[in-house]
């Protein structure tokens, strides 16, 4: 059993990891066909992951409702919303409109999901303004530099800022293109090297946490 639980997954990871790392550099039709098949499988697994996610969400909230835990009413709303949307979605065959006429699924999407998501995002502007007022303070020299840079970029990114301080557009562009890009690139390089190192550790079986715990 240990072979099935430990050695076999490690062996599969080693073989597929090395195979697909090499595949990138081999443009042979057989190698390309292998990639096509693998990505098709990935898409299929992606579809099942969606089902798994929805099932898990249903299960989690069902437990909350059954035990009447704090906030179980929200779980009930989630259940009603999800079941209702799935029902009208299946009824409409997943289409928002048929021959130009809006379906019930389209109505839910256009008049509930779109405004709700839009509102959530729009509210952020108010909270950001409030948070900026409360916490964006020049408490140290570094914070002061950040504060000044942020104000220049904010001015330079809107027509009114460029109208009031014509130089702000160019300075803002310089901050984004030079300072920001170089720092971001350094972070990206660091993260990428970390990802490469982690990939090697997984491929060669040094990092095994993805196998999970449980009994041997």
């Amino acid at each position: 059993m240990i072979f099935l639980r430990r050695q076999l997954p490690l062996l599969i990871t080693l073989i597929t990891g090395l195979l697909f790392a090499a595949q990138y550099y081999v443009p042979h039709p057989a190698s390309e066909q292998m990639l096509t098949s693998a990505t098709k499988w990935l898409q299929i697994i992606g579809g099942f992951a969606l089902i798994l996610g929805v099932t898990s969400l249903f299960h989690q909230h069902a437990v909350k409702i059954r035990r009447q835990e704090a906030g179980w009413g929200y779980s009930l709303v989630l259940y009603a919303g999800m079941i209702g949307t799935i029902a009208v979605g299946l009824w409409a065959n997943g289409k928002e409109s048929v021959d130009g006429a809006m379906t019930a699924f389209g109505w839910v999407y256009n008049y509930m999901m779109v405004p709700l998501q839009g509102t959530m995002f729009a509210i952020l502007a108010f909270f950001i303004a409030s948070a900026a007022y409360r916490s964006f303070r020049a408490k140290s020299r570094e914070a002061a530099v950040l504060l000044v840079a942020a104000m220049i970029v904010m001015m330079g990114r809107v027509p009114l800022g460029e109208y009031l301080i014509p130089l702000s557009g160019d300075v803002s562009s310089w901050i984004l293109n030079v300072l920001n890009a170089s720092v971001r690139r350094a972070i990206l390089i660091g993260v990428s090297l970390g990802a490469v190192a982690l990939s090697f550790k997984i491929i060669f079986g040094v990092e095994r946490s993805y196998l999970g715990g449980g009994k041997e």
Binding site: K40, Q43, A138, L176, A181
Partner: protein, 280 residues
């Protein structure tokens, strides 16, 4: 409690009111300040302009309704430009929750520009897998999308004549609000299948994509509502983005003024505390 202390603990509803007014008033009474075109947005525009007629333009609408205010105007401006240039437009999305919105916007602009479905444009819809879809499209587009959003086999669409995979796409723009988005299209798409790539994103994401822009990994970037307004100005069809720029100007200015006020009171309090310590 001193004035400075009171001001620092100001009721946040007053700030909400200020931001609300700064958004509402410019929308009701627009000023229409001129918009300067940045080199990032011009990069996308110039490449679209350089494409010959009937070239294949792939637009991936990788956002959901939450980012609609910023990215919807970008998509509309790009589609108007593509249809005006008589490009073959293939639209799709990697975000399941954006599928309906994407279909509506493509249909709306195509109708406005008098384009015919199947011949001038197609909407492939959504397919599960995120970046796997990109790789799959790079290998074989018909394997990733055997049928379009309406269920028609993609192989029967005249708009896709001569298109086998991403290598046959003349230009691709991803309008992304997160992952999968512009970065994934570069890493899993352009890097291997060598097509020209441009990007569009929300304002907060734009600074993160500048490294890709500076290294030429993407040839242009439309950032936030400002980027959309610039693109609308470039194609000479001003829309919601240009209309929203006054409101954005006012709110930016309001936040800057609020931050300055907060810092003036904060520093005055610090100074008072220091003086008191010295006396004590």
């Amino acid at each position: 409690m001193s004035l400075a202390e009171r001001m620092l603990k100001i009721d946040r509803r007053i700030i909400f009111l200020v931001i609300g007014l700064c958004t509402l008033l410019p929308l009701l009474y627009p000023v229409g300040l001129p918009i300067r075109i940045s080199s990032e947005v011009r990069g996308v525009y110039d490449h679209m302009e350089s494409l010959p007629e009937r070239s294949v333009f792939l637009l991936s609408i990788d956002f959901d309704p939450a980012s609609k205010p910023e990215l919807h105007p970008q998509a509309i401006a790009l589609l108007r430009h593509a249809f005006r240039k008589d490009l073959r437009v293939i639209a799709m999305t990697l975000w399941v929750s954006g599928t309906g919105m994407a279909e509506q916007l493509v249909t709306q602009v195509a109708k406005e520009m008098g384009k015919e479905y199947g011949k001038d444009y197609a909407f492939l819809g959504w397919s599960p897998g995120g970046q796997a879809v990109i790789i799959n499209m790079g290998q074989d587009l018909y394997s990733a999308f055997p049928s379009d959003y309406g269920g028609k086999p993609t192989k029967d669409l005249p708009v896709l004549d001569g298109v086998r995979n991403l290598k046959d796409v003349a230009y691709m723009v991803s309008l992304g609000a997160g992952r999968p988005g512009v970065e994934e299209w570069y890493v899993f798409g352009k890097d291997k299948y060598k097509f020209e790539l441009g990007g569009g994103c929300t304002g907060v994401m734009a600074p993160g994509l500048y490294p890709l822009l500076r290294s030429g990994q993407i040839n242009g970037l439309i950032g936030g509502l400002r980027g959309a307004a610039e693109y609308e100005s470039l194609i000479g069809q001003k829309g919601k983005a240009v209309a929203g720029m006054d409101a954005q100007s006012a709110t930016h200015l309001a936040i800057i003024v609020l931050v300055i006020i907060c810092n003036v009171f904060y520093l005055s309090l610090q100074r008072a505390a220091r003086t008191q310590r010295q006396i004590g």
